[in-house]
């Protein structure tokens, strides 16, 4: 790599960080200026400064809610990971099982979770219902991606394993799962974001029932009370949570694949 192109690459990387930050600063400045100069009341549109102040002053309440939502999200995600990968492996090993159950997995996926949530709340304790919602939304991408990955094994490698008398377990463990790893990780990245969506959807559905204390519940509650700055503060926490989940999973993806998979390679060969 010559020095000029490496310099260009470094500048490119710096720009990718700096530019979004600059855009954010400009938007926030215009927002704050508009709210102040037009004297928009905070119950219509609070400025960024007020939202930040609310976040700090209400931290005891909001931090607690954040913890509740995050716990649900992480639990939903883990169940989705175990359930999605496990079910995909079972489907792959036992065709009968796949034919019998796959349509119902699809039904679970295509029915909007926000429509299922109220029904679940009828039958389940609220924390359980929220968790189930997070799981329902998150597990399908893991199932679908893992299934695709398990079926994407290099044919010649498959024959090589057959030639050397590999058992089904050998093939699964030493060939199919490693081949499927990039697909599984891609599924998990989608599932991470979706389990947050599922948790929020269920909390909102439960909102009127009242027992919840997650972030989405705070948003609904603040809406009723016209506490718009707190709504924004809760929303801000939700998106930060989403961003952190996304990048955490991207990092895991990178660490797991950087030695060998095209998607995680960087620079020149």
């Amino acid at each position: 790599m010559n020095p000029a192109s490496s310099r260009r690459e470094r500048r490119d990387r710096a720009l990718r960080v700096v530019l979004p930050v600059v855009v954010l600063a400009i938007v926030l400045a215009i927002w704050e200026a508009a709210v102040r100069s037009l004297q928009i009341p905070p119950y219509v549109l609070p400025g960024p400064v007020l939202i930040w102040q609310t976040l700090v002053s209400d931290w005891a309440l909001l931090g607690q809610s954040l913890l509740v939502t995050l716990t649900t999200t992480v639990e939903g995600f883990l169940l989705a990971a175990v359930g999605g990968i496990g079910l995909a492996v079972l489907f792959n090993q036992f065709r009968v099982l796949e034919y019998s159950l796959y349509p119902y997995a699809v039904i679970l996926q295509v029915t909007p979770v926000i429509a299922i949530a109220p029904l679940l709340l009828v039958y389940l304790q609220q924390p359980t219902a929220v968790l189930v919602c997070a799981w329902i939304v998150a597990f399908f991408p893991v199932l679908a991606n893992t299934t695709l990955g398990l079926n994407s094994v290099d044919r010649n490698l498959g024959e090589l394993f057959a030639l050397y008398g590999a058992s089904r377990l050998d093939v699964l463990w030493n060939l199919k799962l490693p081949s499927a790893l990039p697909y599984i990780l891609a599924g998990l990245r989608i599932a991470g974001g979706l389990s947050l969506v599922g948790a929020v959807a269920a909390e909102i559905a439960a909102g009127s029932a009242g027992a919840g204390s997650g972030l989405a519940f705070r948003i609904t509650e603040s809406g009723y009370r016209l506490n718009i700055p707190r709504m924004f503060a809760a929303l801000l926490l939700l998106s930060i949570a989403g961003i952190v989940i996304f990048y955490l999973l991207a990092l895991i993806n990178h660490l797991a694949l950087r030695r060998w998979h095209e998607s995680a390679l960087q620079g020149e060969r």
């Binding site: 490698l157 030639l163 030695r259 060998w260």
Partner: protein
């Protein structure tokens, strides 16, 4: 067969023989019909023919990766199907390495699947890598290697079980000429050192003459062996042989045989 200038003597020590083998695929393609082929102990046999003549299919049938629709595969000696596996090494057209595993783990695979104890396996993996000149690359991942080096890893993996029969399906077709020549020489060296039997599929007249002790020329539609010829140049063969008049003459005669096979189906 009677017109052959170098008739092949009937040998009794067949390692494996295909008798009247036919293969029809479910889509109706008749890949092989009436294929007779004997693989003899210790020889370097090339299956030479144009693309689509069923060379690879024949190789896969010998390996047990594909079942013939008619005819039989007969193994010399008391080989049971299960134990035959440990006697076969297979090198595909592609290196066919596991991208997620480093070179030594790739080479160790056949031993791992056979349940060889770790320490014994490690020694054999080292020896196999030594043999193909990749000892210092044991912990490198396949993507970091050149095409020729990947193929060396693939050969090391096939040889790590010290197979009685090494089956190679156009292994060097995708490599540049310089790399191919180097691998040809290394392969001959290993073949002589290990005293194994090799069946080598190729569409290159030059490669088949350079490597083989015997060439079976195949014709397409449906694939079968139309003529066999011994290559009676002594081993070890090297650059002197590659540039000799003998080599050129052998190539020309083999090329003619191939042309006749393509034209008339029989020599």
């Amino acid at each position: 067969m009677s017109q052959l200038p170098a008739p092949v003597p009937r040998s009794t020590s067949a390692l494996v023989a295909l008798r009247g083998v036919a293969k029809a695929f479910p889509n109706g393609t008749q890949a092989l019909a009436g294929l007779d082929l004997e693989v003899r102990q210790g020889e370097f046999l090339s299956l030479l023919g144009p693309s689509g003549c069923g060379k690879s299919t024949a190789l896969r049938i010998i390996a047990g990766l594909s079942e013939p629709t008619a005819g039989a595969v007969e193994w010399g000696g008391p080989a049971q199907k299960a134990e035959r596996r440990s006697r076969i090494g297979f090198v595909f057209q592609e290196p066919t390495l596991m991208p997620w595993a480093d070179v030594s783990a790739n080479v160790r695979l056949p031993l791992k699947l056979a349940g060889t104890p770790t320490e014994a396996a490690a020694a054999r993996v080292d020896a196999a890598l030594q043999r193909v000149g990749l000892a210092q690359f044991a912990h490198v991942y396949p993507r970091e290697l050149s095409g020729g080096m990947r193929m060396r890893v693939s050969i090391a993996r096939a040889l790590v079980t010290e197979p009685e029969l090494l089956l190679m399906d156009e292994p060097f077709a995708a490599l540049d000429e310089i790399t191919r020549f180097a691998l040809n020489d290394d392969l001959l060296r290993m073949w002589q050192a290990l005293r194994t039997t090799i069946v080598f599929v190729t569409h290159s007249v030059f490669e088949s003459v350079y490597l083989s002790s015997r060439i079976a020329v195949m014709s397409p539609r449906p694939g079968r062996v139309v003529t066999e010829r011994a290559v009676e140049a002594p081993y070890p063969r090297g650059n002197d042989f590659r540039t000799s008049a003998d080599y050129a003459a052998l190539c020309r005669r083999t090329s003619d045989a191939l042309a006749r096979a393509m034209a008339g189906g029989s020599p």
